[in-house]
């Protein structure tokens, strides 16, 4: 069987020398990026426009995409446009189906991006905008996007197998099991941290609590509509849902101004109970009731808000008020999170630079929808660059705020006290100036009772967003934009809690099912209730400690989350490196090997410090022993006020310290096991068993990039296909095009 193509094979096209025009364009892009970086780095004490940060980031992304991702695709992975993908081969119209690359880009991006890139950069802003921005951009170019793309490639070559399956197959049962335990533990910490972000954003805010609460009846209505009234008409009901959501947002203001305000003003403890109970119920209800409709709502909100934010930053071009590098970067004494720049900036900004969780999407779901291998560059690398730009937006939102206000919002009450006077004083001692009146005025401008110690990133992000948007729309809408941003973030966190609890439950059912058979049946409801309850209780415990522990909260939990997320990335990159070596690409193993090494160094240093540091703010066990000593002496350990609180602190420090150690051990196990496998493969290349699916020739035509090239257009036309591509119809096959 021979198919005649009117155009040259892609490899020849890929090596085509650059034309003078394209050289000129890329030099220009490089110059713009370089100017952006220079302005960012050299600004001494004066405020610079956020547009420079956007220029630096976008310039770097463009060059990385054009050159580095192309190098990885053609030279390292050797993507083959003539090789059929699992979607083409196993097309069943349901989970395996070749999907228009532009739709898949949106699909993949919606799946990988969530609240993560909005939180990390905000917290990292305590060290100034420069360290975080450099890591977001460099991290995504050399680690994050590479991981997403390479995992996507290998999973595509293996029928869409999941990361866990690939780890088991390529490394062995020990590495595979360690990876599985890792994923479960990370899921629990992730859920607790996300829930804590919501609790801190909604506590004492009737406007926020009401509008978020209203998303439940809205989702129920949408679910009912899709199930009963007009099955499957997602787009139309989503539009209705969005309108209702905006009405709920407007309604929140009236509730906050009415006598109902007290009903919706909840303490942190009350919110924890509401959220845990809600998540448990939501996760045992059928997916059509809450999860599926919420998913649609959050996807639309995500695209809408991120789009608006880009426009807002470009139109308003706000000034960055934060320093490039603050004193906290070197000293490690920052109030937001403890520890010095290395390793903690690289831990705090996880999603946005590199996120292990993406490996779970890049393997499994997306490969089953990919039309052509050549598209992994756009889908894998491209989507991650988009996510990274969201992190840049979050960094901008945090840095346009007055630094004094930023530290007032992000320091625990133990540091700044609970009144505007004490906060103003404490912040002045940090070296930033803000008056008590300014703190009160800021809270009033967004109609919140107080903005002090609103840790977790969401309120800071929302305030920055409201600042940027109201520069365009006028100050009258400031409070509305603030709550809009809170709603946006809380909405998809609540969806994540529901979905994450389900995944955790599923993993539990699967593993406990080995001990007690009926548990494996996912529809057996006693098993379902019990495993859901266990999962919710586990993350609920961490959430509770985050709220109750006088020393805890975001300050203690977020580093733990960062470490675990980067650990998952290290595991995914280790699997990629092993696969590169086993498939005879040793000379290119550095492409994933170097980022693996970097992440291993970062996570292991961070874990080491969290376990062994003698600085009580950093080391969990140091904290434990000092607090225990205080108890033995019959005194509370500040900022705890009672012996009881101190005892809580001891227990929590023990749990969290132990977890840090376990995480580190898991990475070490996976890396050692993978190294063993790699060495074996190098010593005896003939014995390597390839798990790659056999080659089947592709009968599918589709462009590789967002826009089709001239050759691709000709090819599509010859096959009689539209811009989305498609299968070459059988009667045309074999005819000269």
């Amino acid at each position: 069987m021979s198919t005649t193509h009117a155009t040259a094979p892609p490899e020849d096209r890929a090596r085509k020398p650059l034309t003078p025009k394209s050289i000129a364009i890329w030099v220009l892009v490089a110059v713009i990026g370089a100017i952006g970086w220079s302005v960012l780095a050299l600004a001494q004490g004066e405020e610079i426009s956020a547009a420079w940060m956007v220029a630096a980031a976008l310039g770097s992304y463009a060059i990385a995409y054009r050159f580095y991702s192309k190098f990885i695709a053609w030279r390292v992975l050797k993507v083959d446009r003539n090789r059929a993908t699992p979607a083409e081969l196993n097309d069943n119209g349901v989970d395996f189906h070749p999907t228009d690359r532009r739709v898949l880009l949106g699909h993949h991006f919606a799946a990988i991006s969530g609240a993560g890139p909005l939180v990390g950069p905000v917290l990292a802003a305590q060290m100034g905008y420069l360290p975080g921005t450099i890591w977001i951009v460099a991290g995504v170019i050399f680690a994050g996007a590479v991981q997403d793309m390479v995992v996507l490639f290998f999973s595509t070559r293996r029928g869409g197998r999941s990361l866990g399956q690939m780890a088991r197959e390529e490394i062995g049962p020990v590495g595979g099991a360690a990876a599985l335990v890792g994923v479960f533990a990370i899921m629990i910490i992730l859920l607790a941290v996300l829930a804590l972000v919501v609790v801190n954003a909604l506590a004492g805010s009737p406007w926020g609590t009401f509008s978020i609460g209203m998303t439940i009846p809205i989702a129920l209505f949408m679910g009912f509509y899709l199930r009963v009234i007009r099955p499957g008409r997602v787009a139309e009901v989503s539009v209705v849902g969005i309108v209702l959501l905006l009405l709920a947002l407007v309604g929140g203001k009236y509730i906050a101004d009415s006598s109902l305000a007290d009903t919706f003003t909840l303490s942190k403890e009350a919110l924890v109970i509401w959220i845990v109970v809600y998540s448990f119920i939501a996760s045992v209800l059928p997916v059509w009731m809450l999860l599926a409709p919420r998913d649609y709502l959050s996807t639309f909100m995500k695209f809408g808000t991120i789009g608006l934010l880009f426009v807002g930053v470009l139109v308003a071009s706000p000034a960055l008020k934060m320093d490039g590098v603050t004193d906290f970067a070197g000293a490690g004494t920052g109030p937001v999170f403890a520890g010095s720049l290395f390793p903690f900036v690289f831990i705090t900004i996880a999603c946005g630079a590199v996120s292990g969780f993406h490996a779970l999407i890049s393997s499994g779901t997306t490969p089953k929808m990919l039309q052509k291998e050549t598209q992994i560059r756009m889908i894998g690398y491209g989507s991650m660059l988009m996510e990274s730009s969201v992190a840049i937006m979050a960094m901008i939102a945090a840095c346009v705020l007055d630094p004094g206000l930023f530290f007032g919002m992000n320091s625990a009450p133990g540091v700044i006290g609970t009144t505007v006077q004490s906060a103003s004083e404490a912040i002045n001692n940090m070296g930033y100036v803000i008056t008590p009146e300014a703190l009160t005025a800021a809270a009033k401008s967004v109609e919140e009772a107080s903005l002090l110690s609103r840790t977790g990133g969401a309120p800071t992000f929302a305030l920055g967003v409201s600042e940027i948007f109201s520069a365009v729309t006028g100050d009258g809408l400031k409070a509305f934009w603030y709550h809009f941003a809170i709603m946006f973030e809380a909405l998809f966190i609540l969806t994540a809690l529901d979905a994450g609890t389900r995944v955790g439950r599923f993993m539990l059912q699967d593993s406990l099912g080995n001990i007690y058979k009926p548990l494996k049946k996912v529809s057996w409801w006693p098993g379902l209730i019990v495993t859901s309850a266990i999962t919710t209780a586990l993350w609920g415990y961490f959430l509770w400690t985050g709220v109750k522990d006088p020393l805890g909260g975001i300050n203690q939990l977020f580093p733990l989350f960062g470490i675990s997320n980067q650990l998952l990335a290290a595991i995914a990159l280790t699997v990629c490196t092993t696969l590169l070596i086993k498939s005879g690409r040793l000379k290119f193993a550095w492409v994933t090997g170097l980022p693996t090494l970097w992440l291993a160094v970062v996570t292991l240093t961070a874990s080491w410090q969290k376990v062994f540091s003698t600085d009580v703010k950093v080391g969990f066990f140091e904290l434990r022993s000092q607090a225990q000593a205080a108890i033995d002496a019959g005194k509370p350990f500040p900022p705890a006020k009672t012996i009881g609180e101190t005892e809580t602190a001891v227990t929590n420090a023990t749990v969290q310290g132990t977890l840090s150690a376990v995480f580190a051990l898991l990475v070490i196990i996976v890396i050692i096991d993978a190294t063993r496998v790699c060495v074996k493969a190098l010593r005896n290349p003939e014995a390597v068993v390839s798990h790659e699916d056999p080659y089947v020739e592709s009968k599918f035509v589709a462009p590789a990039q967002l826009f089709a090239t001239k050759e691709e257009k000709a090819e599509l036309e010859a096959a009689g296909l539209g811009s989305g591509g498609g299968r070459i119809s059988e009667d045309r096959e074999g005819q000269p095009a």
């Binding site: 989970d95 919606a110 969530g114 199930r227 059928p286 996807t299 979905a499 599923f506």
Partner: protein, 64 residues
């Protein structure tokens, strides 16, 4: 392109993004080789799809 055709394209894109088109795809797939093949009606199909999602929560999972 007029505004209406652009609008239609955008709407179509949204439908594909939300996977509203799954049913069309299913019918097309089922009838590719046999034009008279029995297919589920939309209501039945959507229920079936939700049941599948229920059975493996990893389908449609989103991350941080």
């Amino acid at each position: 392109m007029t505004i209406t055709t652009v609008g239609k394209k955008v709407w179509r894109f949204i439908q594909e993004l939300t996977d509203e088109t799954a049913y069309e795809r299913y019918v097309e797939h089922a009838r590719k080789h046999d034009a008279a093949a029995e297919v589920m009606d939309r209501r039945e199909f959507e229920r079936c799809r939700m049941d599948q999602r229920e059975a493996d929560p990893k389908n449609g999972f989103r991350c941080c």
